[in-house]
């Protein structure tokens, strides 16, 4: 049975009609790390969509808790092969402030940027592994399936460093390939991690 309202088909054949206006931020996949070495989102695997279906994609990383003290959450991208080694030119800067009021400052971090490098890119500053220490944030990647342009991404995060500092980090850059990016992998700078990473598609 279908549902037709004011001459417009709303429901039919067990699904919403494609012309019905709905929300455009769609949860695609939730992965949970439990002392995990990595979390990977690969188009076509485990119900992950990461292609031209959506204009842009947002990853939300929530309560990332490292097993190793003072490790950064890292990201890398794959561009057709199975390796996460797409070349990137990136920026990284951060603001910080101690719980005791010390060292409120911001600055660029040359140690955390990349110059056309295939290495992993930091998304956060060092995350403490105390019981209450973690990091959360998000990363947007625009039109990863383009085969014309390089791909841009922007990330923002808040982390609690073991020295009891609040660290706000900004990472952004260019994935310097015109091949489609079809996979994203999150790891720690060292050791394993816990937490949740969600992938959303932003449609038009």
């Amino acid at each position: 049975m279908g549902v037709i309202s004011a001459g417009t088909t709303l429901l039919d054949a067990g699904a919403l009609d494609s012309d019905v206006a709905t929300g455009k931020m769609t949860l695609i996949k939730t992965l949970t790390a439990s002392n995990s070495a990595n979390l990977s989102f690969v188009h076509g695997a485990s119900s992950v969509i990461f292609d031209g279906t959506y204009d842009s994609y947002v990853f939300k990383f929530i309560d990332i808790h490292p097993e190793t003290d003072d490790a950064k959450l890292m990201v890398n991208f794959r561009d057709g092969g199975t390796a996460y080694d797409a070349p990137k030119t990136t920026n990284f800067y951060r603001a910080q402030h101690g719980e005791n009021g010390s060292n409120g400052q911001q600055g660029y971090r040359t140690d955390d940027d990349l110059a056309n490098s295939t290495a992993v890119q930091p998304l956060t500053m060092d995350i403490g592994n105390g019981n209450d220490e973690s990091a959360s944030g998000e990363m947007t990647i625009f039109n990863p399936s383009s085969t014309t342009f390089t791909k841009h991404f922007c990330a923002t995060s808040s982390a609690l460093y073991s020295g009891n500092f609040a660290m706000q980090s900004f990472a952004a850059g260019t994935i310097n390939v015109t091949a489609a990016v079809d996979g994203v992998q999150f790891t720690m700078e060292s050791g394993n991690f816990n937490g949740v990473i969600k992938l959303y598609g932003i449609g038009a």
Partner: protein
């Protein structure tokens, strides 16, 4: 015919009822093809830009310049798009890093901000026009339809510079008017928008 479940209207008048389908509501997509401007005018071409939403989100994807060293800018209108000339005070800072590893740095750019300027506001540094170079990012405009306060915006973009540098650009500011904003226009600071698209969403 409508559809009512447990006393809640789910569908009526040919559309999903408010509160169903997610909070990020797609409104309009404009695609540039060597275009002088892209304009979102409330009430025209199905654009909603009024008090319906408290926040509007523009996603800027693969904006490609026809010539080197030109950047994307925007302005707002309080007269339905007849004039785009509202006074704005803005901030502009950017991080930059070369593909060759040179000059990773963050800095405020005084030449790119506005102090009660009625001209178009910069959203990025000038981009390169190589075939694979472009910029992507977002612009959030808060409560443009209210008539009590100035109107704030925040933007973040990732840009490929002509000199093969990745720039992470942060701009923010306010349109210094208590009159409702009802149109937003994008254009390059010189020349046309070669290609790319801009989507407008309302956040319920």
């Amino acid at each position: 015919m409508g559809l009512i479940s447990d006393g809640s209207t789910v569908f009526d008048a040919g559309a999903m009822a408010a509160g169903f389908g997610g909070a990020l509501v797609f409104i309009k997509k404009l695609t540039a093809s060597n275009s002088a401007t892209l304009s979102f005018v409330n009430g025209a071409s199905s654009v909603v830009l009024d008090t319906t939403y408290k926040e509007y989100l523009f996603t800027l994807k693969n904006i490609h310049a026809g010539t080197d060293d030109t950047g994307l800018t925007f302005n707002v209108s309080i007269d339905g798009g007849t004039n785009y000339n509202v006074a704005k005070t803005t901030t502009f800072f950017r991080a930059t890093h070369g593909e060759d590893g040179s000059s990773g740095a963050i800095a405020y750019v005084t030449g790119a901000d506005l102090a009660q300027g009625t001209g178009f506001a910069r959203l990025d540094n000038d981009m390169g026009s190589d075939n694979d170079q472009c910029m992507s990012g977002i612009l959030s405009l808060y409560n443009p339809g209210q008539t009590s306060f100035v109107k704030h915006f925040i933007s973040r973009t990732s840009v490929s510079r002509p000199t093969n540098r990745a720039n992470d650009v942060n701009t923010s500011g306010y349109a210094n008017t208590t009159t409702a904003i009802n149109a937003v226009q994008f254009k390059m600071n010189s020349g046309n928008i070669g290609s790319g698209d801009i989507c407008l969403y309302g956040i319920a």
